[in-house]
């Protein structure tokens, strides 16, 4: 269902979810996905409407604030793209939360509806603020951001009347993060030196002086372009081999921490996901989708499900009688914003 005419994707995605959900079971009972393609379509149309309204608003600003005068190569299109970048960032987070809420509200286990409390807008504000702060402090706040954003997502999750609890604290994982942070810097330096040495060596072995080389670059022939592309790809591989495993090492640690600090009533969760498995999840899956032009996506789904079922361990059995059907209403439509910014995997 990947290569499909755009509009059918809502129904395709719904079918895929029904398949995935019903093949995952906890304590012998399968999950159910009861969303409708129509709901996704409505959500998407609403998001489209939101963007249309925003375009109109920016048009008015252009007319009445800037009086149609471009100032220093700042035109209508710049104004629009800047404003979209500004609202797009927060809205993507809002959409992420709203999308989670939608998916949970359409998920049933033992006939009991799951759900998510909390406000998507305040999550969006929190996420925007934290990410901004993180970016301005050289990403030293990453553990704080990860934990602070995991908390609302986990502790607002409910299976019927049973809430999830999250007991993580950023302080617990700072040690590992600082280690990762400086190892990462070292890795970039090493990778940089390796790439420069390789490029320099190639140029020298081809017998080209640096002047000639610059001349070649300023008047590129097809061969030069190809050579540069090959070198860029090689550099990408070197960086990928050094930088990405390190990243997976940190991500696996973070995942283990977040999962083991979550519980639902007397049900405890844990995982021992390894760096290697995280590599398979983050990098291999990406490569599979990329190299098969998206056709390999079902395979990636299958790998992901297998990883979850192998690596999410559950201890304790909930008292079924105490988990009641929730009485609140669930959202009427789904995921519009999320779909708009295309960050939803499934």
């Amino acid at each position: 269902m990947l290569v499909t005419l755009g509009w059918s994707r809502f129904w395709g995605r719904t079918n895929i979810r029904r398949y995935v959900w019903s093949h995952l079971a906890i304590l012998g009972d399968r999950f159910e996905y009861r969303g409708r393609g129509r709901e996704l379509l409505i959500g998407f149309l609403l998001a489209l409407l939101l963007v249309a309204v925003w375009i109109g608003l920016m048009w008015l600003v252009w007319l009445y604030v800037f009086h149609e005068k471009p100032a220093a190569s700042f035109g209508m299109f710049d104004l629009f793209s800047l404003s979209v970048a500004l609202i797009g960032f927060p809205l993507a987070y809002v959409g992420h939360y709203a999308g989670l809420r939608y998916k949970l509200s359409r998920t049933r286990w033992r006939g009991i509806r799951c759900g998510m409390a909390g406000s998507a807008w305040s999550y969006g504000a929190l996420a925007t603020g934290l990410h901004f702060a993180n970016a301005t402090t050289a990403y030293l706040l990453t553990p704080l951001v990860s934990v602070s954003l995991a908390r609302p997502r986990i502790s607002n999750t409910r299976v019927g009347t049973l809430p999830f609890l999250f007991a993580g604290r950023a302080g617990d994982i700072y040690g590992r993060y600082i280690g990762y942070y400086f190892l990462n810097i070292v890795a970039w330096i090493v990778a940089g030196i390796a790439v420069f040495a390789a490029v320099g060596g190639t140029i020298e072995s081809l017998g080209i002086s640096s002047d000639d080389f610059l001349k070649l670059l300023s008047k590129p022939s097809l061969n030069t372009v190809l050579l540069v592309l090959v070198l860029a790809f090689a550099a990408y591989i070197v960086f990928g081999l050094l930088i990405l495993p390190l990243r997976c090492w940190w991500q696996a640690y973070l995942m283990r921490y977040l999962v083991t600090h979550s519980r639902a009533g007397n049900v405890l969760f844990t995982t021992a996901i390894t760096t290697r498995q995280m590599w398979g999840f983050l990098v291999l899956n990406y490569l599979i989708v990329l190299l098969t032009l998206g056709i390999g996506w079902p395979w990636v789904m299958h790998r992901t499900m297998k990883l979850i079922s192998a690596q999410l361990w559950i201890y304790g059995e909930p008292n079924g009688q105490e988990i009641r059907q929730p009485t609140d209403r669930s959202p009427g439509y789904g995921e519009g914003l999320l779909d708009m910014f295309d960050v939803s995997g499934v």
């Binding site: 990947l2 398949y19 009991i112 988990i323």
Partner: protein, 353 residues
């Protein structure tokens, strides 16, 4: 017979058995035969289907209660007794037929869209309001000229604008033409939507005589009167839209590959447009009784400077037809009035000073 029943009020698991009477589905505990629930046959339904779900739940309409039946034998037994439970039994799916219909529909849709784009723009572009085209052109122009010096010689600009507008009127084009001259190189000129021509001053200073510049002006007017720039833009946006539709916006790789396809299409259209502009340009000059050998002699000069015909070597990757072919197609005798008066030509040569 392992059937699990959930009452829809709590997550408690009930292991049950099911019995079908004439008008009821009776759910009971196997031990002690205690009845858990009675569902009227008319209210029984299956949510989802076996193609997508491993165990589609059996429900009573309007309630959250569920029966989960994993055993295929039990499913087909119940389905034979209750028609509403038919979805529990896998139905044979004509996969081949479905794929065929789907592919045919997609191919037809893409083909229609492509056709509409390729031929539709050909006829629709001239009907786009001129003001809109001009606005498009000016936006692009502002972008292109942001860090460039424009030449302001009034007499020179007047001369080239006069010729451009004369030629456009000759072709029956009803809107004004504006020519901009940018200081420096490359030796080139191009046309933007809305009758905006941009010349680089190197083209004027390196031209052997005024007929070459007139030839290039005529060629660009050829683009204008055939609405090539507007068509190009519409096609580019249309192709982008088509790709998004086909790929569902999912795969970046897909759009990269597709982008290559639309580039090839744009280049093919480009070559056709160049030929059209060449012939229209020469034709316009002849109709006004002007010297029309400038186009071919301009190309001749290009060939002499760079004997390797880049366009011919690039083949389908070229936006322009092979230069030799264009020289042949536009060759005309050096007769007729000069397009610029001597004073005009002097002014045009000095337009950047």
């Amino acid at each position: 017979m392992s059937i699990r029943y959930f009452d829809g009020e709590s997550a408690e698991v009930h292991s049950v058995a099911v019995r079908v009477t004439t008008n009821e589905l009776v759910i009971y505990r196997p031990a002690g035969a205690e009845v858990v629930a009675r569902w009227p046959i008319g209210e029984v339904a299956v949510l989802g289907d076996v193609q997508h779900e491993a165990a589609p739940p059996v429900v009573r309409r309007g309630s959250d209660a569920r029966l989960i039946i994993e055993d295929p034998q039990v499913r087909s037994h119940l389905a034979s007794l209750v028609p509403a439970l038919q979805p529990l039994v896998p139905q044979p799916v004509a996969v081949g037929r479905r794929i065929a219909i789907f592919s045919a529909a997609i191919v037809a849709l893409v083909g229609m869209f492509w056709g509409a784009l390729d031929y539709g723009t050909e006829y629709a572009a001239p009907f786009l309001p001129h003001s809109l085209q001009a606005q498009l052109g000016e936006t692009v122009l502002d972008d292109l000229l942001a860090d460039k010096e424009e030449c302001e010689g009034a007499a020179g600009l007047a001369a080239i604008n006069r010729l451009a507008n004369d030629l456009a009127r000759e072709a029956g084009y009803r809107h004004p033409i504006t020519v901009h001259i940018v200081e420096g190189g490359p030796v080139n000129a191009f046309t933007l939507p809305g009758g905006i021509l941009v010349f680089y001053s190197d083209l004027i200073t390196q031209a052997k005589d005024s007929s070459q510049v007139a030839g290039v002006v005529a060629h660009e007017i050829g683009h204008v009167v055939h609405y090539h720039p507007t068509k190009g833009l519409v096609r580019a946006y249309g192709m982008d839209l088509l790709l998004k539709l086909v790929s569902g916006g999912y795969s970046d790789m897909m759009s990269t590959v597709g982008g290559g396809g639309s580039l090839l299409l744009a280049l093919r259209n480009g070559r056709a447009a160049e030929r059209e502009a060449d012939s229209t340009g020469v034709d316009l000059l002849e109709r006004r009784g002007l010297r029309a050998d400038g186009v071919s002699s301009f190309f001749q000069q290009l060939m002499e400077k760079e004997p390797k015909d880049a366009a011919a070597a690039a083949g389908i990757w070229s936006s322009h037809p092979p230069t030799a072919e264009r020289i042949e197609a536009t060759r005309r005798p050096a007769t007729g009035r000069p397009a610029f008066s001597t004073a005009e030509w002097q002014a045009l040569r000095n337009v950047c000073k």
